[in-house]
Structure formats: structure tokens, C-alpha cells
């Protein structure tokens, strides 16, 4: 059964017309949600009743009691016609936004929502052309995240925490396609760290749109979880009206770093580098290093080896598997390439390709390490450039 087949259907009480169904609601937090209330237009008044009070049969809908318990409006409910029908929802499995053409209901001993119709079939049914059947596409209810349109700001309604399990890059794709309010609703429903990762994966226009529109409270949490290098990338493109607010939120310390990074363009190493990296003295033993690494939450791939605080080389953590415990780190060095802040992009690409590197250290004139350039960053830029070339 479909929602569209119930909406606007007359409801009879003791053989006489009582009103018509205008909407129904479900509890927001269950995977296969039973309908919790049905809204009936009785004369000019909306009457909200529990689903047990009516009997839905093939040819007629009847009110089973005249002692109707009036239910109050509950903000936690998701109204199917109001919040779901014709709106966009997130298809978690398909990792995209889809439009709800109809809602699929199951009428067992309880009326339940089992899925949504996103096919052309649903459109035809609602246009009164239900005899035609083409392109039937139903999504099960548990892979859907719906939005709440009740308040001015659109929020994720069904917090099933399925969004959180998605890869940040997939969330980023959805952010790129969503409307402004939905986009902010998604960001606000994620925890700050996930939100930061997803924003970083999105294209530049989307990043700007989010940073310029987030409410100050959320903005603060999210921006503090973002990588400095990513903020620096969009910093100069931010609307001047909003960039002041972002500067305030960042705090003097981070702002200084963002400014120094964004002073370089992303065509030279200085604009691409991350300032956090793992550095060890050449005399440290493998054993001591391993012990230190165990304390880290994120194990780095590459360790920067320095001697008297000047750069001497890098070592791959995977090489430690075969190294003797007592070996000093200077004997495990696998690469000695380095670049400085002004090294141009093309040269960086050449070094990465020629030496099969994952990380390149950036050093100053005294060969003191300042940061690292990661190959992922380079790939991202090349990818964006390809896309831009296709679009120009």
C-alpha cells in the first residue's frame, strides 16, 4: 500500500462521512516505523488520532470508535506528507540524494512505513496514472535519512546514525548536491570531527558555502577540527564579511598559522605542507621509537629523522618490521629527498613520481624541518585541475 492511496481518502463513521486523511506521522527513531498518529480533516478542523482508531480496508476506511483520543502535536514525529513526500532524502546505500515520489506502507496488524518509492512508477501513481507500471524503484526505510522541515532550519530527522558510518568523501558528495539548509542540517547532525573531514573532502564552492553559512557555535567546533592546511586553502576566498567571524573563532594562534600557510599559493610547497609531523633524532634506537609510536593514536607512515635538529632523511614505519631493536634510526633511513617552501608544484610532482614517495619533508635554509607534503594532497590538486580543464 502507498501513502498516496490513503491521502485524501474519506473516512466513515457508522456509515456517514466523517472527514478525510490529510497526513500521518511516525516515531522518528525506529528502523521499520509504525505509524503513530493519523491526521484527519474533520470539517475545517484537523483531528489527530491514533492508528488503532481506524480500520483500513480495501474499499473503505472506517472510524471504529466515537471516543476519539485527541493526540497533541508532537515535535519529534515525522509527518509523512509534510516532511517526506516530494522532499529529498539521503539514500545511505546509494550515497546520494533522492526525491520521495511516494511512501510505501505495510498494513499488517499495525500500519508501518517500510520504504519510499523513488521511481517513475510513484510519479505516475500520484498523477492518477497508476495503471501504468514503469521503472519501479523502492528503497527500504532503514537506508533513509530524512530531514525535518518543521522549523526554519532544516535538520536531519531520523538520527539512525547511519550517516556517521559513511565515508567522509561520500558525505561530501551529498553535501555538494544538497540545498543550503539541508547541507547545514547534515553538517550539524555529524559530530564536529566527522563534519570537518566531510567538508575537507568537498569541492571548494561547497566548503565556502558551508563555512560562510554555519551558525557561529557549530562553526567554532567544526573549524577547530579542520586541518590548518585545508582552512588555508579557502581562507582568501571566504567572503570578507564572514572571514572576520572565522578569524575570531580560530583564535590568534591558529589564525597565524592559517595566514602563514595561505600566504603561499598552492603552487609551491609552502602552501601545500602540513605542519604536524613525527620527528625523531638520528641516535634514537628502533626500540625506543616503537615504544613512542605505541602511544600515538594515529601511527604516522613516515618518520622525519634529524641530527642536531637538521634534517637527515626519512624512514618508512613499515621498514621497522625487519629492523633490529638496537639499530640507531640513522641506519634505517630510506630516503633523503627534501624540498623547501618555494619548491614549485611541478618539481614536487616529479620528486614524488621519481622516488615513489608518500611524503616529502619541507625544510628551511638551515635544513630544519618545517612540515611535510603528503602525496594525497598532490593527487587531489591534480584531480581538481583535470576536472577544471574539462569544465573550461
Amino acid at each position: 500500500m502507498y501513502l498516496s492511496q490513503l491521502l485524501n481518502r474519506p473516512v466513515y463513521f457508522q456509515g456517514k462521512p466523517y472527514g478525510k486523511i490529510v497526513d500521518m506521522a511516525i516515531f522518528s527513531n525506529k528502523a521499520l516505523s509504525p505509524v503513530s498518529r493519523i491526521e484527519i480533516l474533520h470539517g475545517k478542523k484537523k483531528v489527530t488520532i491514533p492508528p488503532q482508531a481506524i480500520r483500513i480496508e480495501k474499499n473503505s476506511i472506517t472510524l471504529t470508535t466515537n471516543d476519539i483520543p485527541q493526540l497533541p502535536y508532537d515535535h519529534n514525529d515525522l509527518y509523512l506528507a509534510e516532511d517526506l513526500l516530494d522532499k529529498q532524502v539521503i539514500d545511505i546505500d546509494g550515497r546520494r540524494l533522492v526525491r520521495v515520489n511516494d511512501v510505501v506502507l505495510e498494513n499488517g496488524h499495525e500500519l508501518k512505513v517500510s520504504g519510499i518509492d523513488i521511481g517513475f512508477d510513484g510519479i505516475l501513481r500520484r498523477l492518477g496514472l497508476g495503471i501504468l507500471h514503469i521503472d519501479k524503484k523502492i528503497l527500504p526505510w532503514n537506508v533513509i535519512e530524512a530531514f525535518d522541515y518543521e522549523t526554519g532550519t532544516v535538520k536531519i530527522k531520523l538520527k539512525q546514525n547511519t550517516l556517521a558510518k559513511m565515508h567522509p568523501a561520500d558525505i561530501a558528495d551529498i553535501l555538494e548536491d544538497a540545498g543550503t539548509k539541508e547541507r547545514l542540517g547534515i553538517v550539524e547532525s555529524l559530530d564536529a570531527k566527522q563534519a570537518a573531514r566531510a567538508i575537507e573532502e568537498a569541492d571548494e564552492e561547497t566548503q565556502l558555502s558551508i563555512l560562510e553559512n554555519l551558525s557561529p557555535g557549530v562553526l567554532k567546533d567544526v573549524i577547530n577540527k579542520m586541518h590548518i592546511a585545508e582552512i588555508a586553502d579557502v581562507f582568501h576566498d571566504l567572503n570578507p564579511l564572514r572571514s572576520e567571524e572565522i578569524q575570531k573563532v580560530l583564535g590568534a594562534d591558529k589564525l597565524q598559522k592559517v595566514k602563514s600557510l595561505s600566504a603561499f599559493s598552492d603552487t609551491v610547497a609552502g602552501g601545500l605542507m602540513h605542519e604536524t609531523f613525527f620527528q625523531k633524532d638520528a641516535q634514537t634506537t628502533v626500540k625506543a621509537l616503537l615504544k613512542d609510536l605505541q602511544k600515538e593514536v594515529f601511527i604516522p607512515e613516515t618518520i622525519i629523522i634529524t641530527k642536531n635538529n637538521t634534517y637527515s632523511g626519512t624512514l618508512q614505519v613499515k621498514d621497522l618490521l625487519h629492523a633490529d631493536d638496537k639499530t640507531a634510526l640513522e641506519d634505517t633511513i630510506s630516503d633523503t629527498q627534501y624540498i623547501n617552501e618555494q619548491t614549485p608544484f611541478d618539481e614536487i610532482v616529479r620528486l614524488f613520481a621519481q622516488y615513489n614517495l608518500r611524503v616529502l619533508p619541507v625544510v628551511n635554509k638551515e635544513k630544519k624541518p618545517l612540515g611535510i607534503v603528503i602525496v594525497d594532497e598532490i593527487l587531489k590538486i591534480i584531480d581538481e585541475e583535470n576536472e577544471r580543464d574539462e569544465n573550461i
Binding site: L85, K87, R99, I123, A178, N239, P240, E385
Partner: protein, 417 residues
């Protein structure tokens, strides 16, 4: 090329703040396409057959165009959604189907006009429409689906500098400036059916159903923020005024030459006479080039934007970023629109200029229901949250509506007199 840091700073402080530098924005594109095949033909007819007497309509429609485009830009900025999505979410599937049917008919007319423009321009070189139109249809399909649309868009925009020749030609044609300026400000209404029909066509070729959807989708695609509103506003205003300044000179050029000589326009060769003061015997070649450029651009852009809007409304994948198999409905619709538009032009016994002209008038009438939806949506407080229409804007929308509606009624009455 990667952007250098200096360029980033430049963009930040100048492009966002100085509207003039954002000159190639959506407002300008939308505006230039308004002077498409139907536009050139309609303004030519207006100037050639009625002299300066329709200029006042042009002045009013300039404001109407600027305001309706501004509404589209503002709704796009505030919601991040296209007009089709907003109609679907607010009014449900039935009204959406209705609006899409209206849009489909209006845009099919526009597309037919574009192909008529292609045929008319090549007829000047004695190429039959039965050869030019099928080839153009296939060419447009391949250019859009296999080619690089953004690059084409830029090429066509550069080529649309052609319109400047109308300004030169108008000046060289020694028009009656006093009368022209007077008629621009003081309405000079004639109650006869062909005058009223031309009046409707002038409005319809300037403010179009597809342009209303296009501007909003374009803004949404650029993901601009609410803070960008002043710049976008300037962009659409500037676009509207530039478009209509060109329209003004097309009408004046035709009035100074064809109307002054007491001739009427029935085909492209006649319309080309307006360029004679500038180009002499090459006038018809120059006209053919300009009409061809405008028509090809329109024949590519209007079907793409129509397919995009309709797939958006019904929730299918749509856009040139998708492959054929990912977006079957989008490409299917695109092919259908081109084929139908082209076939319409190939109908025997239908003069090309009749298609070019009548489709614009029909477009104006079909704009009426769309304006109602735009009006309701743009006054929705919950949806736009502080970005609803001001009083002045609502008055201009009402004037636009009444102008088209009353002219249409007047036309129907004039048919019985």
C-alpha cells in the same frame, strides 16, 4: 592553470565587491540568450513594422526582466535549490507536472524558434532548411554531449559581441532620436491586432519561462552564499539592462531603415536591411552570421536547461556530468527536444519568420502561470527566511503579470473587431 595567490586575493577583494568585474556572470549569459533568434526576429519586426512606437514596452520590460531575474537569483542564493525543486516541495507532484507541461510547451516553442533562426540565416546563402536544420540538429546534439559545453558557452558569448553592429548601424542610419526617446517614455498604444501581438511578443522574447528557471539553477550551481547577494543583484541588473540596450538599438536600427522606407519584414533578408547603413551590400551576410550564432547557442542551451529542469522536478539524475547510462531520462529528453524543435521547422508551408515571431508571443502567455508560482514562493517567509520580496518587487511582478494578461485579453478582443 592553477590560481596564484595574488589572483586569489584579487578575486576576494575585487570580484566579490566590484560587480563590474563579475561581468560574465549568469545574469549576462541569461541576458544575452534573451537576444536569441526569436529576440532578433521580434525586435526587427517591432522596429520595422511599428517604428518607435513599441519602445515604451521595452523600457517597462527592462525593469520587469531585472526584477524577475533578481527574484530567481535571490531564491537560488537563499535556498540552494532550483525553481523546479522549490515548486515540487511546496506544491506537490500535480502542480509540478502542470508547470513542467507549461514549461515544456514554451521551451519547445523557443527551441523551434532557434532552429528557425538557423534555417533563416542559412537561407540567405541559399541553403535549404531541409539540409541546414537536420545537420544543425545533429551538430548541436554532438557538440553538447561529446564536446565541451563550458568552452562553447564562452565562444558564443564572445561572438555575441556581434550585437554591437546594431548600435553602429542605428547611429549611421540617422534615426529620429527625438521621437525615439519620446516613445521610450510616453506609451504610444495602437489598438490593432498586429500591434498588440507584437507587443506581447516583445515581452515574451525578453522575459521567458526558461530564463526564470535558468538563472536560479545557475546560481545554485555556483553555490553562492547569501553574502553574495549584492554582487549577484548587480550582475542580473546589469545583464538585463545590457540586453535591453541592445534590443533598443535593434528596434531603432530597423525603425530608421526598414520602417522609414515603408517596407515590412517577412523574412531574414528583409530584417538584414537594418544593417545596411553599416555594412552596405554585406548587410545580409553580417545579419546571417549574427542570427546563426545566436540561434546555435540557443539551440544548445535551451534544450540542456529544459532537460535539466524537468529531471530535477521529477527526481532523476540530470546534467552533462553524467554518462548516458547514468542519466537516460536527461539525454532522452534532450534528444527529444532537439528532434521535435527541428521537425517543427521542417513542416512545409510554415514560414520561418512566423515561427520565430509567434513562439515568442506564446512564451509570454505561458509565463503567466509560472509567474504565479514564482510570486508565491518568493513571498514564502519560512522558505526564504528574511529574503522574501520587498513591496516594490511585488508591485513590479504584479505589473509584469497584468501587462501580459491585459495585452493578451486586448489581443483576443481585437480579433473580433
Amino acid at each position: 592553470m592553477r590560481r596564484t595567490n595574488e589572483m586569489k586575493i584579487f578575486r576576494n577583494y575585487f570580484v566579490r565587491l566590484l560587480p563590474l568585474l563579475a561581468i560574465l556572470g549568469p545574469g549576462i549569459i541569461s541576458g544575452s540568450v534573451d537576444n536569441d533568434a526569436g529576440g532578433i526576429a521580434t525586435y526587427s519586426v517591432a522596429g520595422a513594422n511599428f517604428g518607435y512606437s513599441l519602445l515604451w514596452v521595452l523600457l517597462i520590460t527592462t525593469f520587469c526582466l531585472a526584477i524577475t531575474q533578481e527574484i530567481g537569483a535571490r531564491m537560488g542564493l537563499a535556498t540552494g535549490k532550483g525553481l523546479a525543486s522549490l515548486i515540487r516541495e511546496k506544491f506537490g507532484i500535480r502542480w509540478t507536472a502542470f508547470v513542467m507541461a507549461v514549461l515544456l510547451i514554451a521551451n519547445l516553442g523557443t527551441i523551434a524558434a532557434e532552429f528557425a533562426g538557423i534555417a533563416a540565416s542559412l537561407e540567405i546563402f541559399n541553403i535549404s532548411k531541409f539540409i541546414s536544420v537536420p545537420i544543425a540538429a545533429i551538430l548541436v546534439f554532438i557538440l553538447v554531449t561529446k564536446g565541451n559545453f563550458k568552452r562553447l558557452e564562452q565562444l558564443f558569448l564572445i561572438l555575441s559581441a556581434f550585437y554591437l553592429v546594431y548600435i553602429v548601424s542605428a547611429v549611421l542610419g540617422h534615426p529620429n532620436w527625438t521621437l525615439g526617446i519620446k516613445n521610450l517614455i510616453v506609451p504610444d498604444f495602437h489598438f490593432n491586432k498586429s500591434y498588440i501581438l507584437t507587443l506581447i511578443a516583445v515581452i515574451g522574447t525578453t522575459i521567458t519561462p526558461w530564463g526564470q528557471f535558468f538563472i536560479q539553477d545557475y546560481i545554485v550551481d555556483k553555490k553562492l552564499s547569501k553574502e553574495d547577494l549584492p554582487v549577484e543583484r548587480a550582475d542580473v541588473f546589469l545583464g538585463s539592462f545590457i540586453t535591453n540596450i541592445i534590443s533598443f538599438f535593434i528596434i531603432v536600427a530597423c525603425a530608421a531603415t526598414i520602417f522609414a522606407a515603408g517596407k515590412v519584414v517577412t523574412n531574414a533578408k528583409d530584417a538584414a536591411l537594418a544593417l545596411q547603413p553599416l555594412a552596405g551590400q554585406f548587410a545580409s551576410w553580417l545579419f546571417a552570421f549574427g542570427l546563426f550564432n545566436a540561434s546555435i547557442f540557443g539551440a544548445a542551451l535551451v534544450p540542456v536547461s529544459t532537460s535539466y529542469v524537468i529531471t530535477e522536478a521529477f527526481g532523476f539524475e540530470g546534467g552533462l556530468d553524467f554518462t548516458f547510462s547514468e542519466a537516460k531520462q536527461f539525454y532522452g529528453l534532450f534528444a527529444f527536444l532537439i528532434a521535435t524543435g527541428a521537425l517543427f521547422v521542417l513542416l512545409p508551408f510554415v514560414p520561418l519568420f512566423t515561427i520565430l515571431f509567434f513562439t515568442q508571443a506564446i512564451g509570454a502567455v505561458l509565463l503567466l502561470p509560472i509567474l504565479i508560482f514564482v510570486f508565491i514562493l518568493s513571498n514564502d517567509k519560512k522558505l526564504l527566511n528574511g529574503y522574501t520580496n520587498g513591496k516594490f518587487i511585488n508591485i513590479v511582478v504584479a505589473i509584469t503579470f497584468l501587462l501580459i494578461a491585459s495585452s493578451t485579453v486586448a489581443y483576443v478582443i481585437s480579433l473580433f473587431l
